[in-house]
Amino acid sequence: MPWDRNQMAARAAQELQDGWYVNLGIGIPTLVANYIPEGVEVTLQSENGMLGMGPFPFEGEEDADLINAGKQTITELPHTAYFDSAQSFAMIRGGKIAMAILGAMEVAENGDLANWMIPGKLVKGMGGAMDLVAGVGRVVVVMDHTNKHGESKVLKACTLPLTGKSVVDRIISNLGVLDVVEGGLKIVELADGVTEEELRAATEATIVD
């Protein structure tokens, strides 16, 4: 059985290291916060201007002045710090954020990432994604390996407009974990019950040993 959304999030949480400052994207990456391993302290950055993002508030305690980058109401923690958007992206662009975990529409074997625009479809904008992939220390993407037609989203070259060029370090998909290395992608791990043949069949990108 391939991993489901929560299992992908739990696997992505294993990437976190104690003491890191991390930015989690919208969607499955947001779920990663639910699986932070015991004994690992990470500080979550929200690019709208906060370090130390806490959980959703209790009903009735929502604060319109306290939201995350997905515009959801959240809470603060004892070590929270607030700042403006220029400062927020200064720390992102300046490489102070150790890792970003983001969603992806397509990833290529050279680490190219496309996750913001489908030509001809409704374009909402890149938000902070281009800044994040250009600036943070390590980029991990969490994604389904194939689209709903069964076509690979892990490609030799992206077909969609890019969010960043050669920016992805690691892919965590429903089928397993792959690293971007010299010459292509290297299989790091298979999801429970997924065979290497299945993963290779679902991958258009070059897989190197």
Binding site: E62, Y82, M126, A134
Partner: protein
């Protein structure tokens, strides 16, 4: 006659406080102008000033603003009245009228990566006409922009924003325009405030000078020319909660 706040010939204490959003904007608005607005989503948006711009009917506006509001709140209300010519934004979801006007060609849209937009405002406010950034290299954002290598890495040139007017929302102001923001409502308000020739700030409370801790000022009053106090709706875009028992 509105008081000209930042150049008081009498040399007396600066008088920046206005009675309403309409009064604070009097003499500042003109068709085709460029406005920088604070806010992220619906959080920390200058809702009173946006209402007053709608009432003033100023047209062909260009807005540098991270988002475009929703249909009936924020900059969305100026889209309904077709007062906006162009948006410079990083993300414009959640707004049906925006999409309708954009897809029909009535509205221009310039996407900026969020950090690039924030830094363009900050740079403009700091007198910096351009800066190099890695953000967007190898993407459509880089097309037509100067590329330059520093220490083996490629960067693109982005330009500072110099707006005719900045409109921002803060939590508290003192009577000299020193501002304090609250939680994540600070967001774009600080860089936006600095990049306007004139900045008008709306706040929830104006307090006497000397009551705010000078060490805790988020934006010094030098950047703020006019201030109004008013009640804010502060709408929540995505109300997410957890149950007490799951705590």
């Amino acid at each position: 006659m509105p008081r000209v706040a930042h150049t008081d010939p009498e040399g007396e204490r600066m008088k920046k406080i206005y009675g309403s959003a309409a009064e604070a904007l009097d003499g500042l608005l003109f068709d085709g102008m460029f406005i920088a607005a604070g806010g992220f989503g619906l959080c920390g948006i200058p809702e009173l000033l946006l209402d007053a711009i709608k009432d003033a009917g100023t047209k062909d506006l260009t807005f540098a603003s991270n988002n475009a509001g929703v249909d009936e709140f924020g900059i969305g209300i100026l889209l309904q009245t077709k007062q906006v010519k162009k948006m410079i934004s990083s993300y414009v979801g959640e707004n049906a009228e925006f999409m309708r006007q954009y897809l029909s060609g009535e509205l221009e849209l310039e996407f900026n990566p969020q950090g690039t937009l924030a830094e363009r405002m900050r740079a403009g406010g700091a007198g910096i006409p351009g800066f190099y950034t890695k953000t967007g290299v190898g993407t459509v954002i880089a097309e037509g922009k100067e590329h330059k290598d520093f220490n083996g890495q490629t960067y693109i040139l982005e330009e500072g924003i110099f707006a005719d007017l900045a409109i921002v929302k803060a939590w508290k102001a003192d009577t000299t325009g020193n501002l304090i923001f609250r939680k994540t409502a600070r967001n774009f308000n600080v860089p936006a405030a600095t990049c306007g020739k004139i900045c008008v700030a709306e706040v929830e409370e104006i307090v006497p000078a000397g009551t705010l801790d000078p060490d805790a000022i988020h934006l010094p009053g030098i950047y703020v020319h006019r201030i109004i106090e008013g009640a804010h709706e502060k709408r929540i875009e995505q109300r997410t909660t957890r149950k007490k028992e799951s705590a």
